[in-house]
């Protein structure tokens, strides 16, 4: 009798545990001391609604024309066809020879490589020769004359604001990083062109 009862209870217990373990945790649970856990100051991602209600103006943007400490001066042209046309005269303000190509290559792989490919051949994992999810072929940066003859400034303009289907990277990369990527692409283009010209000669 007793053994039966024991076995029955343990089995019910086991079942409860099994079912309990399969549940998805959708709640955050409770905390011990809320005043030490939740910030009273406005943390990143906290709602700024309270500020608006209190009549405090806050738009989460830097004041126009200001430059962050240690950052490069901002790019002068706007995202329009006039700005695009004028961008060609802008030169890379970085000392290209001193650019850390390892670092530039790393940023390129993170931000550009998924479409334009690790070899800059326009065949990144999002395109995969037409098998990836991206519906348009990314530009081949080393053979396509549009990319190889593009002025540094125009390339910078396109990276900053986006061009055609490509999105703008002004919000993801700093001015310096964008110029580093331009220098990296130009260096790779020169590298790819060198053997070709050698072969022609």
């Amino acid at each position: 009798m007793m053994k039966k009862a024991l076995i029955l209870t343990s089995m019910i217990g086991l079942l409860v545990v099994t079912i309990g373990c399969n549940e998805v945790r959708r709640d955050t649970g409770k905390v011990y001391m809320p005043d030490m856990s939740y910030s009273r100051a406005l943390e990143t991602y906290s709602s700024t609604e309270a500020l608006t209600q209190a009549g405090i103006h806050y738009n989460a943007r830097p004041v126009e024309g200001t430059v962050a400490r240690g950052a490069m001066g901002s790019y002068p042209f706007k995202n329009d066809s006039a700005g695009y046309a004028r961008s060609a005269v802008v030169k890379n303000p970085l000392d290209v020879a001193a650019v850390d190509m390892k670092e530039a290559g790393r940023i390129y792989l993170i931000n550009c490589g998924i479409c334009h490919g690790t070899k800059l051949d326009g065949n990144g994992p999002l395109w995969k020769g037409g098998d990836g999810p991206y519906p348009a072929a990314p530009r081949n940066l080393v053979t396509d004359p549009i990319a190889t003859t593009m002025a540094e400034g125009t390339m910078f303009h396109s990276i900053t604001y986006g061009k055609n289907l490509m999105g703008g990277y002004g919000s993801q990369l700093s001015t310096k990083q964008r110029w580093e990527i331009v220098a990296y692409i130009k260096a790779k283009q020169a590298e790819a062109a060198a053997p070709a010209t050698a072969a022609v000669n």
Binding site: M36, S37, P125, L126, P133, P135, G167
Partner: protein
Amino acid sequence: MSTKQFSTHLIFFLSSFLFFSVTISNAQDAGAGKTIFMSKCASCHNVLKKGTGPALAGLEERHKWADHKELLAWINNPAAYMAKDPYTQGLKAEYGSMMTAFADVTLQDVDNIVAYVNEAAKPAPAPAAGSGEVVEEGGGNSIFFGVISLLLGVIALILMQVNSNLRKLSDQAEGVKTPAGIPFWRNKTYITLISICLFVFGGYMVAKGAIGLGRQKDYQPVQPIYYSHKVHAGINQINCLYCHGSAEQSKHAAIPSVNTCMNCHKAIQAYEKGPKLFDEEGNEIDGTAEIQKLYEYAGFDPDQPNKWDPSMIKKPIEWVKIHNLPDHVYFSHAQHVNAGKVQCQSCHGAINEMGEVKQVADLSMGWCINCHRESNVQFNYDSTKGNKFYSIYEKFHNDLKAGKMDSIKVKDIGGLECQKCHY
């Protein structure tokens, strides 16, 4: 049907027949067309979707494009063609830019490209029945074990019943009198046993609950959009830092803003090529519908991708923050990613395999401390600029070189200081 109508039909039928036979005799090569299309056209045109330029499917039914010479004239020199052609002027107005000239394209190339476009525009054959119906059973194992233990339990019960009955029978046969048993609720041994069990189990549950206060291991909230890290970071190999770039630069590995999503989703408007998606409850997710949700936030019209720019974003997506630290703990991603060279997966687990993101580590103090006890400090040897953060520890460096120490733990450089996290 009048004779006149009949004759028109006949003429139409004959002419279309003639057209097709001509196209066949032209020996259009869709394979060669694909090669040209991919290298010259695909940057701006998709067969089925609008991109920088119009979708090309059914192009022969539009304008004068059935005549490939017209098409060639347009491709070779769009500016000259457009000067006296209102249709292409309208295209420029709609798409915002004129097509790039391809002077080297020949009539044969155009024939091949159109052949490829027509072939690619045909609806794909329906997948064979039964394919793609592979249902993955996530919690299969525990159910299996549950059933097995249930079966074993029942068998044990039956055997015990048989055993006691047999004993009774043998006792009766031998004439042994069995004393009437004490019911188990009055049996002191059982009462003691059960109370000890209750005490241990109850104590364990109470302690576990108390320790679990403020911890959120396995927290997996429902997000406003079903965003699958498995699809983005796993299948499509997008680097974590593409979206969470500020992990290198700030305290937070920021959630990307809507314009970052739109970098790709301006063009990728449907979920077509990946595996089926399921949420944690096992419901199937329609990926395309989830992308549509993004467009609501972005104020994006999929029919006019070129008209969109980030200033049209309506509202931010309010993602639910999963990894929460109490206010009295300071944690900086930049420090761990740059100086510590800690991989994202060390703390966040196999994010690239998660459909819905789940908190893998319990983010308890013991968990942090453990890692600080065991992790080697990443001195930056090879960069000319050096990792300035650790420059005052050059002594350690030299000691290592001299062989006085074999490694340096985080605790050696203040990793156990209370103020590192609490201040």
